[in-house]
């Protein structure tokens, strides 16, 4: 089993990543065409040290294709009221079936993100529409964080927060 890069995911950061943030993930095709998709929540598996993100499958066709081909994934988490932004990159992304608690995680995420944006003046209907997706159309992508960056707007944006140990390749991964 790979060792969990616990340095990267301390409890405060874990709480941050699983809150009501704006989450967007990117990858790229072999030809270097970037793909992009909005995620509907993030779950942290502390034992495996992996992050699991949820997407609406019809929106994530290119992203899933690119990320599962190369394993490369970049995910930006941003808290709208504070602009605090973290980017996490991985090299071992893989498609993962939804398991117990995943749907509850997406439901909680929708509520938290809606609450955050309603506070900023958006309507709840607007946020719910943005995050609308039938349960059966949700897909999960998981990856081990290999690099972590402070992406909060400003000159310091892009600063590595810490360097991770060499990314543990998931043995027997798809």
């Amino acid at each position: 089993m790979p060792t969990a890069p616990s340095l990267l995911l301390d409890p405060e950061l874990t709480r941050f990543l699983t809150g009501g943030l704006s989450i967007n993930a990117g990858s790229a095709s072999a030809a270097g065409v970037p793909s992009l998709c909005r995620a509907f929540g993030c779950r942290v598996a502390p034992d495996a040290g992996r992050l699991k993100l949820f997407f609406a499958a019809p929106q994530a066709v290119d992203l899933v294709r690119d990320a599962t081909r190369s394993g490369a994934l970049a995910v930006v988490f941003s808290e709208p009221p504070t602009h605090r932004t973290i980017q996490i990159k991985g090299e071992d992304a893989r498609l993962e079936a939804l398991t117990d608690g995943d749907l509850a995680c997406v439901t909680a995420y929708r509520a938290a993100f809606a609450q955050c944006l309603v506070f900023l003046g958006f309507t709840e209907g607007m946020v719910r529409t943005l995050l609308d997706c039938p349960d059966e159309a949700l897909v999960g992508l998981s990856f081990t964080p290999s690099a972590l960056f402070n992406s909060t707007p400003g000159a310091q944006a892009g600063t590595p927060l810490t360097s991770a140990p060499p990314p543990p390749r998931a043995p027997g991964g798809p």
């Binding site: 967007n24 065409v33 609406a56 929106q59 932004t85 607007m126 992406s151 707007p153 892009g158």
Partner: protein, 448 residues
């Protein structure tokens, strides 16, 4: 394909766009963009503020995928772009810089948001992302119809003052814009002064701001419209000016003697320069307590209106050059009776006080002082704009100065103060001075 109107709505900065790029080694990067600008059907510009990973990536691989969300319908779009170049000067850069300055000053990011360049991209392909959407709300007004109706009345205005009234009435009636004002540029002092307003508790006629200050001042300096959809109240003009006045000494108290009339808690603001031959003649400013009140289409309409107003103003000025001389042989009017009022003029800033009440300063103050001197010494009551333009005592900054706007300002200030001195129009480019009380003129610091 994404309709142009939807693309412009998405780029308005209400919901930040997301930019996905890819390094030469295939490592992806995702970042938020602060500001995007529609250029034409095939191009858009994104703000370049820091030399970050996004910028490093696109120098190696020019392909970018931009994620946008429509702020009203929640429809998501993905634009597949190819980076072409970065502009660090010219109209696109200046326009984005001004808008970013407005955004920054209104989000507390003034020290953080600085435009290094405008990255110009070619739009290769647009993807409509599948997902739920809300119905697009039907707009409150049809801006094109409102523009047509509003424009129809402007050229029938006989003078600058009725032109400004027609403009502000039209905005209210046809665009449902309840809070609006027009500021004119005083190029010599790098200030803008209010000549007309609608929808405020006090008119604010005569109030001033510096060129470069806030959305109005930046719009004037950069000669570009600035539209802000979310305004934080801490940066509202009224408050900022009041606090500024408290920080400054007595010498500047006159600056804020006439308070700027702006809303205390504006949600949306739009400032549109009124173009002149060289420098802008002034700025048309509208605001609303509602956020996201003004659309791109309304900005288009107000730019068209301001262009017409600028043209008509210049026409008035040109007509003055050919206009009538002062009418000789007008019968002298009887001198007013009653207790005299002391009128003081301070040469240091050309301010004029009626009794103890501050009235006006600057060129408009000089105009009034000149009229009162001639009234006192020669018993004159009839004057022409043309002679004032040539009168060295008025000290106009230059021949192209907007004398009309200064007379509008003076006329309105006298009327609002219910002063014993009034101006009354008697014809194109001519007016009459009405003095209801005997005056004692005192030049306070001549030669100081």
């Amino acid at each position: 394909m994404i309709p142009v109107r939807a693309l412009r709505d998405c780029l308005d900065g209400v919901i930040p766009g997301v930019v996905s790029t890819c390094a030469a080694d295939g490592t992806p990067n995702v970042a938020y963009m602060s500001q995007g600008q529609y250029l034409d059907d095939g191009h858009l510009a994104l703000s370049y503020q820091f030399f970050n990973r996004t910028h490093q990536n696109l120098l190696a691989n020019p392909r970018v995928t931009l994620g946008l969300i429509h702020p009203k319908t929640a429809q998501q779009y993905r634009l597949h772009l190819v980076y072409e170049r970065t502009e660090t000067r010219g109209p696109v850069f200046e326009s984005m810089k001004a808008k970013l300055a407005g955004i920054a000053s209104h989000t507390g990011m003034s020290g953080v948001f600085r435009l290094l360049g405008s990255d110009i991209y070619r739009i290769e392909r647009v993807e409509v992302v599948p997902g739920s959407t809300l119905p697009a709300p039907s707009p409150l007004v049809d801006p094109l119809l409102a523009l047509r109706t509003c424009m129809a009345r402007l050229p029938t205005s006989p003078d600058a003052e009725s032109l400004l009234d027609a403009l502000l009435d039209g905005l209210q009636t046809h665009f449902a814009i309840e809070h609006a004002l027009v500021m004119m540029l005083d190029p010599r002092r790098d200030r803008l002064y209010t000549v007309a307003s609608r929808g405020y508790a006090t008119s604010g006629v005569g109030s001033e701001i510096h060129v470069g200050e806030g959305v109005i001042g930046v719009a004037a300096r950069e000669r570009t419209p600035i539209r802000i959809s979310h305004v934080t109240s801490e940066y509202a003009y009224g408050l900022a000016m009041r606090e500024g006045a408290e920080r400054q000494g007595m010498g500047d108290l006159l600056e804020t003697e006439i308070p700027f009339p702006g809303l205390v808690s504006p949600g949306s603001q739009l400032a549109v320069p009124i173009p002149g031959a060289h420098e802008p003649l002034g700025v048309l400013f509208v605001e609303s307590p509602t956020e996201m009140r003004f659309t791109h289409a309304e900005e288009d309409a107000l730019v068209a209106l301001a262009t017409q107003v600028g043209g008509l103003f210049r026409l008035f000025l040109a007509e003055l050059e050919l206009g009538d001389e002062a009418q000789p042989g007008v019968a002298r009017e009887p001198r007013p009776q009653g207790p005299p009022l002391r009128v003081r003029h301070y040469a240091a800033n050309d301010s004029v006080f009626l009794g103890d009440d501050y009235l006006i300063k600057g060129v408009a103050g000089n105009i009034l002082w000149t009229l009162l001197q001639d009234h006192q010494a020669l018993g004159r009551t009839h004057f022409s704009n043309r002679e004032l333009r040539a009168d060295p005592r008025v000290r106009l900054p230059d021949q192209s100065d907007n004398l009309e706007a200064r007379l509008v300002l003076l006329h309105r200030r006298l009327a609002e103060r219910e002063a014993c001195v009034r101006l009354e129009k008697t014809g194109r480019g001519r007016f009459r001075l009405l003095v209801a009380r005997p005056l004692e003129l005192e030049d306070m610091d001549t030669g100081a």
